[in-house]
Assembly symmetry: C2
Homo-oligomer: 208 residues x 2
Amino acid sequence: MDKKGILLVISGFSGAGKGTVVNRLREKYDEYALSISMTSRKPRPTDVEGETYFFVTREKFEKTIAENGLLEYAEYCGNYYGTPRAFVEEQLNAGKNVILEIEIQGATNIKKAFPESLLIFITPPSAAELEKRLKGRGTETDEVIAKRLKRAYEESDGMDTYDYIVVNDELEECVDEVHRIIDLARRQPLRMKSFIGEMKEQLKVYDK
Amino acid sequence: MDKKGILLVISGFSGAGKGTVVNRLREKYDEYALSISMTSRKPRPTDVEGETYFFVTREKFEKTIAENGLLEYAEYCGNYYGTPRAFVEEQLNAGKNVILEIEIQGATNIKKAFPESLLIFITPPSAAELEKRLKGRGTETDEVIAKRLKRAYEESDGMDTYDYIVVNDELEECVDEVHRIIDLARRQPLRMKSFIGEMKEQLKVYDK
């Protein structure tokens, strides 16, 4: 089995609880590291530098792109968002599974650049449940909730580009299921290249 | 989740213990059914009709092909081997996972015809262990063992066409791992078509 960690992309509808799933996964199991994105947008009052994002200027972001310092990046509403490369590579080499909590466009870019990455989409069991969770937060206006639900409809078109879709109905079950999926991903040929190579090499002596 | 069973192809080197894995899987878990192949070759003394194979004449086999009665078939050394369609479809519709224990050529044909099938390759941990197991049986001549090992070398080229490669080191672990892989395969988008369809339909009302 390859010793390197797995590059894990987690996406999902806003309100699906993916942040909670990711936090619980990291609490419960040792082998995960969370990648923090870099952005050129201005911090908001709830943001924490190095926790929600690494905040940099537009110039610094463009310099990082030019130096090939990002695994992927995209521009939304005039701001850059990207995944710093160095942290991810260090952690993968140390055998940690690195989680990127990013949206579908970034997920697609990651899969293209790293076919051995694993893409998981977290969804609530139904649209009614999604609406209930968004309203239950009590922190957003009806207008914002309506926007998020409309966005969920648009995003639902991309669900089948993911490797796995996990229903977040009961949190602990969902977390364990995600963990089992990652564990078994190590049995897929594209992550067993060294085992396959050794096996072929060993069997070669019988080819006579 | 789709209620239909999963069409499961199990292959592996001769001596990897795939027959034992399949038997133990069926003993341990209810939801598996084993597909029995049809062949036009003559029965050997160790064969049992309907257990090792369904034995038919060449004419009957060709009639079954013409009637579209086989999921796949191939010809080896002048004999036909194929998978009867009716049994597989009945069992899948009843929610059973149907196991086909077939070789790589048949496996590739099944995957082409049924992309939602799941292909698992069983391997011993090393070539030395494979040789040890083949010799340990004590039932085959050195010549037959040498042929099987040469065949294993040829087959090792096809390992990465499988969805998963499972190492059969400790039997119970291997069986449980195969079972977990199949269980989680139900979270892959191509086997969640009805869930995805319903979700999109439900979310459509928010598209305004």
